[in-house]
């Protein structure tokens, strides 16, 4: 079915509602993966939009509970696109030069299996400016 009007949106509402109920039973805010994509001009010019959509789709596809949001300039313009990944109970990690391939690797190896994936930007100083 094509979604074209608000009335069409109402029709898919019930389906989505069922899905949410199913998920809620297994969900716990602490268990959610949090990903932030740097979205300043340098990030956007380097492809942050595409990376963000890709990550949203991949998480959804893999059934991972995650929130993907945007953040300001993390100060690593030379390494855009950059993303910050925060696994439950772990310190946030920032990856630079994130391509779709890299994003896939981060999801499959770091997020799902907890393995180390290279491309991490060492945290010398951290000034996320919002």
């Amino acid at each position: 079915m094509k979604v074209k009007s608000l009335a069409d949106l109402r029709k898919i509402k019930d389906e989505v509602h069922e899905k949410i109920k199913l998920r809620e039973q297994s969900e716990n805010a602490e268990q959610i993966v949090q990903i932030k994509v740097a979205m300043a001009t340098c990030g956007i010019a380097s492809g942050a939009k595409e990376i963000m959509s890709y990550i949203i789709d991949e998480l959804d596809y893999s059934g991972i509970d995650g929130v993907v949001t945007q953040t300001g300039c993390m100060g690593y313009c030379y390494a855009e696109p950059t993303i910050e990944v925060k696994l439950p109970g772990k310190a946030p990690v920032v990856y630079g030069f994130v391509t779709k391939g890299k994003a896939k690797e981060i999801i499959e190896r770091y997020i799902i299996k907890g393995e180390l994936v290279d491309g991490v930007i060492p945290v010398t100083y951290r000034t996320i400016d919002e």
Binding site: K2, V3, K4, S5, L6, D8, L9, R10, I12, K13, E15, V16, H17, K19, I20, M39, A40, T41, C42, I44, A45, K49, M52, S53, I56, D57, D60, V68, T69, Q70, G72, C73, M74, G75, C77, T127, D129, E130
Partner: protein, 183 residues
């Protein structure tokens, strides 16, 4: 930037940083006058006169992570290179209006591109913000308002991936209907 939709994404980031709770995108295609106009209005913290007068310079930013701010100057440059112009109006504690006008047929005008993707990405990442998108093409227009969407889906969060996917489709279908110039 390859697409105007990326400039839009970028300029809206300024509005978000300025703590806007309502952001309106208005695109007007006036074929007769060969104009393609993008206007972004927010109700954020705005800028005072002194800051506003120098804001189109790349060396002006309020960022602490670096001392260049490129978003506005890039858009201005792009509009001017496409036979158009750029204006910005702002008032402290009231908000900001940015307008970039391009020659519709100018070979240097970037395509609009994936504006539906830009909108849904912004909505997903900032579900609390009230977004409006109005696209006018000659006598036809498409009006999109996240408050209307929220009323429709009531308890379901607007940032749910299925809702965002549906909204992207809704925007694209309607833009197609009014024959909006995307590419």
């Amino acid at each position: 930037m390859k697409e105007l939709s990326l400039h839009i994404l970028d300029i809206v980031q300024n509005s978000i940083r300025a703590k806007a709770s309502k952001i309106e995108l208005r695109i007007t295609e006036d074929i007769d006058n060969n104009q393609f106009e993008i206007q972004i209005t927010d109700n954020g913290i705005g800028m005072d006169k002194v800051f506003l007068d120098k804001v189109t310079s790349p060396f002006v930013t309020s960022r602490k992570t670096r001392n260049v701010g490129l978003g506005i100057s890039l858009l201005k440059q792009n509009a001017e290179q496409s036979g158009g112009f750029f204006t910005i109006n702002s008032e402290s504690n009231k908000g900001t209006i940015i307008k970039a006008v391009f020659e519709h047929q100018n070979i240097d005008r970037p395509i609009l591109g994936d504006v539906a993707g830009t909108m849904t990405l912004l909505i997903g990442a900032n579900p609390q913000i009230h977004f409006i998108y109005l696209h006018k093409k000659e006598l036809e227009q498409f009006y999109f308002d996240t408050e209307e969407v929220k009323n429709e889906i009531d308890t379901i969060p607007i940032q749910h991936p299925d809702i965002l996917k549906a909204l992207k489709e809704l925007i694209n279908e309607n833009l197609n209907d009014i024959k909006a110039t995307i590419n």
